[in-house]
């Protein structure tokens, strides 16, 4: 089960990157800026990916 959970979610840093990016996107969508979210979500994810790669 641990292996399956790790496969689905990854580690805490991975989860934090995706959660933070999605929280940003959800906030923008809820505020009526869905098109802005389409630009900022990929950017936020790439920054997070860079952070993960550096760590």
């Amino acid at each position: 089960m641990t292996a399956l959970f790790k496969l689905l979610v990854g580690d805490g840093r991975n989860l934090a990157v995706v959660a933070a990016a999605l929280a940003l996107a959800a906030t923008l969508v809820a505020s009526g800026y869905a098109a802005t979210a389409a630009v900022l979500l990929p950017l936020a994810l790439l920054v997070g990916i860079g952070w993960l790669a550096a760590g």
């Binding site: 292996a3 399956l4 496969l7 689905l8 979610v9 990854g10 991975n14 989860l15 990157v17 995706v18 990016a21 999605l22 996107a25 959800a26 969508v29 869905a34 098109a35 979210a37 389409a38 979500l41 990929p42 994810l45 790439l46 997070g48 990916i49 860079g50 993960l52 790669a53 550096a54």
Partner: protein, 242 residues
């Protein structure tokens, strides 16, 4: 979304996982023979096939469109972000590239202390663990738009090619450019995850260009990933093999 892009992503992702699984099966085959090693691999593959059929069907039956899209989008992001980050780190020289010869040597050392039953389990567990990633990709890429057959067929095609090549050469498949493939697959899976998650949140308004946004997203993650890798390499001063 074309079935072709789903097929390509699933084929490439499954291909690198099957290559890694083959190295374990090869080590076991050298220890207890091809017959027993193949039986362990087939048992693991049968379990994976059953899991794929069951979970793929459940996803189709139990979740409505938006929930399905959101759930699989988040899973794809969790998976794709991890793959892309690892591939960038390896491209930048911050992590060692996977070496199938070293993996074979490590598995052979481990098997030297194992009896036949334990060796069989090593092959079974190895194929199962590598195959779980294939299962995840097939069941997440497949249901949206009814592409489960394309994703499953791609994984099966990759399996046949890797197994046939492995049986022919009976050596680690070291010529497969695993990190380049993982880089591309990580970008593709992150692309699908980004698109579906935001579409589930914001509807069609989130992507004014619709599915035409997918190639742009893929290029963004590929090019952006290369830029990040270059920056990390420059910052660390790491030496990277060409």
């Amino acid at each position: 979304m074309t079935a072709g892009s789903i097929f390509l992503a699933a084929f490439l992702a499954a291909g690198v996982e099957w290559v890694e699984a083959f190295t374990i099966v090869l080590a076991v085959a050298l220890s207890i023979g091809w017959g027993r090693a193949a039986s362990a691999a087939l048992a693991a593959l049968a379990l994976l096939a059953a899991m794929t059929a069951a979970t793929g069907g459940l996803l189709d039956l139990w979740l409505d469109g938006a929930w399905l899209e959101g759930a699989i989008g988040v899973l794809l992001l969790l998976f794709g972000v991890r793959w892309l980050a690892k591939a960038i780190a390896r491209h930048a020289g911050l992590r060692a590239l996977r070496d199938e010869d070293l993996e074979l040597a490590a598995a052979t050392r481990e098997l030297a202390r194992a009896d036949r039953h334990a060796a069989w389990l090593v092959a079974f567990k190895g194929v199962l663990l590598e195959g779980l990633e294939v299962w995840l990709i097939v069941v997440t890429l497949g249901p949206k738009g009814g592409h489960t057959f394309a994703a499953g067929g791609a994984a099966l095609a990759a399996l046949v090619i890797v197994a046939a090549t492995g049986a022919l050469v009976q050596a680690p498949l070291r010529r497969v450019p695993e990190n380049a493939v993982k880089f591309a697959v990580g970008a593709m899976i992150t692309t699908f995850g980004t698109f579906w998650t935001l579409e589930a949140m914001g509807g069609a308004a989130a992507w004014p260009w619709g599915e035409a946004s997918l190639p742009a997203l893929a290029i963004f993650y590929l090019a952006g990933g290369l830029v990040v890798a270059r920056h990390l390499r420059h910052r660390s001063g790491a030496m990277v093999e060409p």
